[in-house]
């Protein structure tokens, strides 16, 4: 253990200190790195929140007297559509709601709680935890917590970044007090303030005004409207998707679209992110290797390429392996087999995961969806003539990842 963390435990014996491994950092970084956020600020925000949530949830789940399983609110899959807009992650333990608010600054002499977690009626929580992350020294500290009531009574509102502000000394340092208070005094029902109701015209207008990231709200959108929009799960996800699409659109305009050239695979040349089957499988655990190798349908296949895909909901390592097998046929066509397997020691795929085959023009040619206990899913074998392109798309909830492929005409 790092001496820094030892010192901290001596200085602040009442606070909760958690180790943060390089591995955890790497995983969270890769996950937030993918194109799930429309801007660097949101991506950084997602990275910190992801680290914070994973560490705290692991710790909380082992809390023996908890009684109920802690859950991510609203759901793992919806987190990106929160982290795109706001710092903070909400957990529920039974009726109790906690919001974790991470910061990577060295000194937490003040605790800033984004307005959204306090003023959006369905986002409001009982407790707000100030979580400090030190990325260089590899630790996470729960610096203290406050209650909704205390924020209402004591916090100042800072117009500049729309946060509620508390001094460090107003926080309660020991989260044990939280569990004791839960039993000893009745938990205060947070006092709610109503937000304006948005008409569908207003919503459409807002979605348009907000579809591109700006460091703060555009001048013509009020805080009230903004929060009223975020409160609507469906609309918030729409806005998130719009932003992503717009962001990706911008990227495409700058750079060449990345197309995987499958013909090169026959020469063992793979595009970035793709590996030959053997390379990837050796980095994964044995079960996956066994699963692949024992799959007769793939044995006849000459070339196998695989890619590890993080689905962005990151939590609990939701990653899958997309596997493509190629066999050249006599008629110059190539027959293609596509499978999707769970990664990282998981036995089953997450349910409702979709694998789609799209034509070059974007029409859906095939679609399969996982059920609750599928070890893998696959498309029907298909053939693609040289010179034609196709796409594969993997979709789960909000997240969807598309890969484009083409086969060159074989010369000679």
């Amino acid at each position: 253990m790092k001496s820094e963390m030892n010192d901290l435990m001596v200085l602040y014996p009442d606070k909760l200190w958690l180790d943060l491994s390089d591995q955890e950092q790497q995983t969270a970084w890769q996950i937030s790195a993918q194109n799930h956020y429309s801007n660097p600020a949101a991506r950084w925000n997602a990275y910190l929140n992801c680290l914070c949530l994973n560490a705290f949830l692991d710790w909380l789940k082992e809390e023996p007297d908890l009684g109920e399983t802690p859950k991510v609110w609203p759901s793992d899959y919806q987190l990106p559509s929160i982290w795109e807009f706001v710092n903070g992650t909400c957990l529920t333990v039974g009726e109790l709601r906690l919001v974790l608010i991470p910061s990577d600054k060295s000194n937490l002499t003040e605790f800033r709680i984004p307005q959204e977690w306090v003023d959006i009626p369905n986002w409001v929580a009982n407790y707000y935890l100030a979580v400090q992350i030190n990325l260089e020294e590899n630790w996470i500290g729960v610096w203290g917590y406050t209650t909704h009531q205390q924020i209402r009574e004591k916090a100042k509102y800072d117009l500049m970044d729309r946060t509620y502000l508390l001094d460090e000394e107003d926080l309660i340092a020991d989260i044990n007090v939280m569990w004791v208070a839960r039993e000893v005094c009745s938990v205060q029902k947070p006092e709610l303030k109503m937000l304006p109701e948005l008409s569908s015209v207003q919503i459409e207008k807002l979605l348009k005004q907000l579809d591109q990231w700006t460091p703060d709200l555009p001048e013509n959108v009020s805080e009230q409207e903004w929060m009223a929009l975020l409160a609507l799960d469906k609309k918030r996800q729409d806005l998130y998707q719009k932003r992503l699409a717009k962001h990706k659109g911008n990227l495409v305009a700058y750079s060449q679209p990345l197309v995987n050239n499958l013909s090169k695979w026959f020469q063992n040349v793979f595009e970035a992110g793709w590996h030959s089957f053997d390379t990837l499988v050796s980095s994964q655990q044995n079960t996956l290797a066994v699963q692949f190798r024992s799959d007769a349908t793939l044995n006849e296949v000459r070339v196998k390429g695989a890619k590890l895909i993080d689905l962005g909901m990151q939590l609990r390592n939701t990653a899958v392996v997309l596997l493509i097998g190629l066999t050249s046929e006599i008629d110059e066509k190539v027959s293609i087999r596509v499978q999707l397997h769970p990664a990282n020691e998981e036995v089953y795929l997450p349910p409702d995961l979709k694998l789609l085959l799209l034509s070059g023009s974007g029409n859906i040619l095939q679609e399969v969806q996982s059920r609750s206990h599928d070890n893998f899913i696959q498309l029907k074998k298909f053939k693609s003539p040289p010179g034609k392109s196709f796409s594969l798309q993997v979709t789960l909830g909000d997240i969807s990842i598309k890969e484009d492929f083409m086969l060159e005409k074989l010369v000679g």
């Binding site: 602040y12 909760l16 000194n107 003040e110 005094c185 555009p218």
Partner: protein, 523 residues
């Protein structure tokens, strides 16, 4: 140094460490002006106790600060003065300045207590501070007293001002050390890494101390905020070594700033990229100075003189928490034995959780790693706290713990009581060992000699002790061995498992010896 006894002394004297480093015995110095004031107050209300006066001065301070707030409020709303209910129309007139000084004097013992505790508890940090330094830090933390006692609840019967102040000061000492540590690390940050590491409050203070006036302050803060939002690290280790932002970032910051000034109604003109660049450079300089300002070169303290044999500690008792203390003794006995053992190692011997895990590992399969120890300790603490609250409710049915701050106050007192209870238990183990030991007579003789010398002066005690040092160190060595054996047996530990914490055990025994030598006859 004596403990202050009467009320007049308590509200008018300050502790002084003297100038010569050879004389480490601090003395009480009287402030004649304060002495005059408190004398006349005491004459008019001879039956009032110290807590009454402490609360009275606190009320004066609170009233003054509320009035200040009211004056600065343009609309002059009626303000409800916290903690000043109908029962407390102030019977005397004292200026808030004087009241503050009285409070500072009163809190001297709390400061001393906190600095001694800090000195003991933080002995094993990588950087060490001498006791005087802790006392200075404690004094800085206790002033102004109104701020220190901001969250103290006058209506709450279970704790008094001194007790509250003690734990609050300890907390602030921790913060100061943490602050020093951050300052010591400033060299590891690039310019923009440092700028991004500051929080808004720190930036504001940094700019103010750089002489940026209030009018301009908001503009600078806004530029910084735009930077903080727009310019993000591109590696997972964070922002410590961030490069300066490029031209595109600067333009975005200017754009963001110009949008925001409209929205926030700032009375300033829009800025160009060049202006942004120069404002950010000012912020960087302010940040560097700020993180340097209170930084003391800690290396200087490597060879500090350890006032090992100064008998202050036991002078200051945990009077503030009597009631809590008696409940804790009962509750402690009721938790499982493993819990008692862990708490004794943790709070009694000041072992770290990592050390505890190493010691218990062999015979306690559930306690292999630091985090497992941490979790168990926090479970025991939680259950003691829960029971403590229930017990207190029985004794004081009128108290309701509706606020988490109330519970936290009790918890701070609880921690101190558990700590001192664990130490007492270990001391009594040592007492038994000491009585059986062949050196018992030598110890008594030395102690007797000190009692006689004690009436004369401190310096002679030092000389005497250095003469007796070889005997003492022999006694100590034997005690260490017997104490370790006894603990290993009682706590069901692997043989020699306490070897790794020899240093801490040795210091613990030294503390015990001190208390024996100086106070053997007193109790």
């Amino acid at each position: 140094m004596k403990k202050r006894e009467d009320i007049i002394e308590k509200f008018s004297t300050f502790l002084s460490f003297g100038n010569s480093s050879s004389d480490l015995n601090p003395i009480w110095q009287t402030d004649p002006n304060l002495e005059r004031c408190i004398k006349s107050l005491v004459e008019s209300e001879p039956d009032a106790n110290e807590e009454f006066w402490a609360q009275y001065f606190l009320k004066v301070l609170r009233k003054a600060s509320t009035e200040e707030d009211t004056e600065t409020k343009a609309n002059g709303d009626a303000v409800n003065i916290d903690g000043l209910s109908a029962s407390t129309r102030l019977p005397f007139t004292t200026s808030s300045l004087i009241a503050g000084r009285h409070m500072s004097a009163y809190l001297q013992e709390a400061c001393l207590w906190a600095s001694q505790k800090a000195y003991q508890r933080f002995k094993y940090l990588r950087h060490k501070y001498p006791l005087e330094e802790y006392f200075q830090i404690a004094n800085a933390a206790a002033n102004p007293p109104g701020k220190l006692l901001k969250n103290f609840n006058v209506e709450y019967p279970l704790t008094n001002i001194e007790g509250y102040a003690k734990t609050a000061i300890i907390r602030l000492i921790s913060n100061t050390i943490y602050q020093h540590d951050i300052e010591a690390k400033r060299g590891k940050f690039s310019d923009y890494g440092l700028l991004k590491d500051l929080n808004a409050k720190e930036l504001r203070e940094a700019l103010l101390s750089k002489g940026i006036n209030h009018k301009k302050l908001n503009s600078y803060c806004l530029v910084w905020r735009c930077l903080d939002k727009i310019y993000q690290p591109t590696r997972s280790q964070g922002s410590r070594s961030l490069e300066p932002p490029n031209q595109q970032h600067i333009q975005e910051i200017a754009h963001c700033y110009n949008q925001q000034i409209n929205k926030l109604d700032f009375p300033t003109a829009p800025v160009s990229s060049e202006k942004v660049q120069s404002m950010l450079s000012t912020c960087v300089r302010a940040a560097r100075d700020y993180r340097t300002k209170r930084f003391l070169s800690l290396e200087e303290y490597d060879n500090i003189f350890d006032p090992t044999l100064t008998p202050w500690d036991t002078l200051i008792q945990e009077e503030a928490w009597k009631q809590v203390n008696s409940i804790i003794c009962k509750l402690f006995a009721s938790i499982p034995e493993t819990g008692q053992i862990m708490l004794k190692l943790w709070q009694g011997l000041s072992l770290t959780q990592t050390e505890i895990a190493t010691i218990l590992r062999a015979n306690y399969p559930d306690l292999q790693k630091q985090y497992q120890v941490a979790r168990q300790l926090s479970r025991y603490n939680q259950s003691i706290l829960k029971d403590l609250v229930k017990e207190l409710k029985k004794v004081h049915p009128d108290i309701c713990f509706h606020n988490e701050k109330d519970i936290e106050n009790i918890k701070d007192a609880m921690n101190e009581c558990i700590r001192s209870h664990c130490q007492k238990l270990l001391y009594s183990t040592l007492d038994i060992i000491g009585e059986k030991s062949p050196e018992q007579d030598k110890l008594l003789a030395i102690s007797h000699e000190i009692q006689i010398l004690g009436k004369q002066n401190y310096q002679q005690i030092s000389i005497f002790l250095s003469e007796a040092s070889s005997v003492l160190s022999q006694v100590k060595q034997n005690l260490i061995i017997s104490f370790k054996n006894e603990l290993e047996k009682n706590m069901n530990l692997e043989q020699n498992s306490l070897e790794i914490v020899n240093q801490k055990i040795s210091e613990f025994i030294e503390e015990w010896l001190k208390s024996k030598l100086y106070f053997a006859k007193q109790g």
